[in-house]
């Protein structure tokens, strides 16, 4: 199987320093790392490859120095690395990023074989949006399995995958068709240490470098700052919600009763909704 893992090079937030003289964040010299969440995706991809055979292609979009992250990924045992780098990508928000990455994944499919699974991390530690993975899935029309805690089974013949997905208050077991996109939850595995062969071949392997044009991206107005409608107006700390989701036991009551109770509960909490949504002659 062919697995594509999309990773991001991020500043190591543990080592960001404030310039003692100018009091600005010192971007220069701040060590960069692979977004820690992406490592769970990469390790899961490597495990699938080891179990089912095939190849893992690692993809990143970023400045030329992002090649360091790809080299690291190769050192962990990835088979191929693609760096999407072009000044047109500078200033991309999640919309523009997911566009560029999905185009690159399509191009990877044409060039190296259609991917069966695309992995991303749950989110990045610098942006924290968790939007790029789902954005890629939507654009490539892939089933979307987010917050996956475990991959239960893969049936390559039937083109089916079963995963466990962490959700509020429990775990869902989901079955999907392949190809699909999986965003992997943190703490679900532990990144391996590449063997000496992996390290050696990583040191020598060429990283595939694509510009926007080479990745088949034609509409540059949708790239980078020009293609990014997001504007950060304000940065603030959110207040935590105190209420937890309630669990409904489906075994004890009929679905009709449950639905009735649910509607009553919703209207009790949001009375404004009742005149709008209440239906006559129930």
């Amino acid at each position: 199987m062919h697995i594509v893992v999309s990773i991001k090079q991020v500043p190591d937030s543990a080592q960001i320093r404030v310039h003692p003289v100018t009091n600005t964040i010192m971007r220069q010299g701040v060590p960069t790392i692979i977004n820690p969440y992406d490592l769970f995706a990469l390790e899961e991809a490597l495990r699938l490859r080891d179990a089912y055979g095939g190849e893992v292609t690692v993809l990143t979009m970023g400045p030329p120095m992002a090649e360091d992250s790809l080299r690291k990924a190769l050192g962990y045992g990835a088979d191929r690395a693609v760096l999407l780098t072009d000044r047109y990508f500078a200033g991309s928000d999640t919309l523009a990023t997911s566009l560029a990455l999905s185009q690159a994944i399509a191009k990877i499919g044409e060039t190296f074989g259609t991917p069966d699974v695309v992995f991303t991390g749950k989110q990045t530690i610098d942006g924290d949006t968790a939007q790029v993975g789902p954005g890629i899935a939507k654009r490539l029309d892939l089933s979307q399995l987010t917050y996956v805690a475990r991959i239960a089974t893969i049936d390559l013949a039937a083109r089916e995958i079963t995963v466990e997905r962490r959700c509020e208050g429990g775990t869902q077991t989901l079955k999907s068709k392949l190809p699909c996109l999986i965003t992997m939850l943190e703490g679900t595995n532990e990144m391996r240490r590449g063997s000496i062969e992996d390290a050696l071949s990583a040191a020598r392997r060429q990283v595939v470098k694509w510009s926007a044009a080479e990745a088949g991206i034609e509409d540059l107005t949708k790239c980078g700052l020009r293609g990014s409608p997001t504007v950060v107006r304000r940065v603030f700390a959110p207040t935590a919600r105190s209420e937890k989701a309630a669990q409904i036991d489906t075994a004890e009551k009929t679905l009709r009763d449950l639905a009735d109770e649910l509607i009553v509960a919703i209207f009790t909490r949001q009375p404004a909704l009742e005149p709008e949504l209440a239906f006559d002659g129930a």
Binding site: R193, A199, A203, R204
Partner: protein
């Protein structure tokens, strides 16, 4: 299982390892370099002063892109007591030459640059890879290494051990003895950040000019030790080091010495208002000529700090490291060209070439110095500095005492402290050790 064989494996990507790897790779040898840290320089905390000449011999155009902090135009040598310092300052416009002689550098940045050059020269570098064991054939010849990564041994004609001062691998492999506490100093250092203009003002330098202070005296609390202050672009490296054996015997702690140095009235104004961003500690080989271990054997050579090649008297280390790395590489290249095997007998060429260089010549010159200073630390690092300070103050202070009486008082103080015989003996010993 790696089927591939290398001409040489270099263990370590510091000054000596990079010099060796660069020299061999530039000559077309197939070189694999293994580094424990995340990237070259990531584990390095040296001061640091870099001597241009020794790097020029390896990379002549290094000034084009190497990360250099300041070139040194002024050196201050201080003898300190509790409240004062007596100093020799040497500053020369001649040091503002087109190709300056000495630079301050920050090793984390410098080593990254050096390593890039090594890889451009064709060597393969693996980081985060610790060599755990030397692999030998049935005759005991070193034929490769094993690492902490899965996948077995890697083989090479020769292994260059550039593993640094502790040299655990070589020690474990029986190539040399364990380091003794008398043969290593423990130096601690802080990086004090200050704006460029402030550094320029305080040290009377401009542009990329820099200044170095090196100090001995009561700051090392009766131990053989040295304090240092180096100016970088936007920071000051300030530190002090003493022999590990002395720290143990005197129950002194390194950070307390550094704290006292920072609060010394001669140092405090130089770092005032700075922000400390790093605290680091490292061992420095101090044993000198007599501590140099076996430098070569069947299938291996050892270079740099691992070979104890450090001139403690002149505080030169990285240039001896670079030079020994280069010379080891050149010896290996010669053996290789003759199609000879990398045996102990053939690799003896490295020792012969190193003996001819300044590295061993300098260390031989000061072969008795470490023991002399160590055994008489109280005299050389406390008694004399105090006497010198008193003498200087006596000379400078104008208080109506006739000059002849002042001079007599100074002489009497020296004789009282060390006796006539003691003074003569110290002078002769020092002269002999310096010779």
């Amino acid at each position: 299982m790696i089927n591939e064989e290398f001409d040489a494996i270099v263990i370590g990507a510091g000054m000596s390892g990079n010099a060796a790897a660069y020299t061999m790779a530039s000559d077309g040898l197939k070189v694999l370099q293994l580094e424990r840290g995340e990237y070259p320089g990531s584990k390095n905390v040296q001061g640091a002063i870099m001597y241009a000449n020794m790097l020029e011999k390896i990379i002549p155009d290094f000034r084009d892109d190497a990360p250099l902090e300041r070139h040194l135009v002024e050196q201050r040598l201080w003898v300190m007591d509790e409240t004062s310092h007596t100093g020799i300052h040497y500053r020369s416009e001649d040091f503002n030459e087109v190709s300056p002689n000495r630079y301050t550098i920050i090793r984390a940045q410098f080593d990254k640059w050096f390593s890039r050059r090594v890889r451009q020269a064709g060597a393969t570098l693996l980081c985060e890879t610790t060599v755990t064991e030397l692999v030998r054939d049935d005759k005991g010849k070193v034929i490769g290494v094993r690492t902490d990564r899965a996948g077995g041994a890697i083989y090479a004609d020769v292994v260059v051990l550039a593993e640094g001062v502790c040299g655990l691998l070589g020690t474990r492999g029986g190539l040399r003895k364990m380091l003794t506490p008398e043969a290593v100093a423990l130096a601690v250092k802080e990086m004090h950040f200050l704006p460029e203009e402030v550094i320029e003002q305080r040290f009377g330098v401009k542009g990329s000019e820099g200044c170095v202070i090196e100090a001995v005296g009561t700051i090392s609390h009766d131990m053989a030790g040295l304090g240092f202050l180096y100016t970088n672009k936007e920071s000051i490296s300030l530190g002090i080091g003493c022999l590990v054996s002395d720290f143990t015997a005197k129950m002194e702690s390194p950070y307390a010495l550094l704290d006292a140095l920072k609060n010394h009235p001669s140092i405090r104004p130089l770092i005032a208002g700075s922000e400390v961003k790093e605290y680091a500690a490292h061992l420095i080989p101090e044993g000198g000529y007599k501590a140099i271990p076996q430098l070569f054997g069947d299938g291996w050579v050892v270079v740099g700090d691992a070979a104890q090649l450090n001139n403690a008297i002149h505080r030169e280390g990285s240039n001896l490291a670079m030079t020994s790395g280069r010379i080891a590489a050149e010896a290996i290249i010669q053996v290789k060209r003759r199609n000879d095997p990398m045996t102990k007998r053939n690799l003896a060429l490295y020792k012969t070439m190193l003996d001819e260089s300044f590295v061993v010549k300098d260390l031989r010159k000061y072969k008795d110095m470490p023991a002399l200073l160590h055994n008489n630390a109280g005299n050389f690092f406390t008694t004399y500095p105090r006497l010198m300070s008193q003498a200087a103050q006596n000379f400078m202070r104008v208080d109506g005492t006739p000059k002849i009486e002042k001079e007599r008082a100074t002489t009497a103080a020296f004789i009282k402290a060390r006796s006539r015989l003691g003074l003569v003996r110290d002078a002769i010993r020092l002269a002999l050790a310096w010779r």
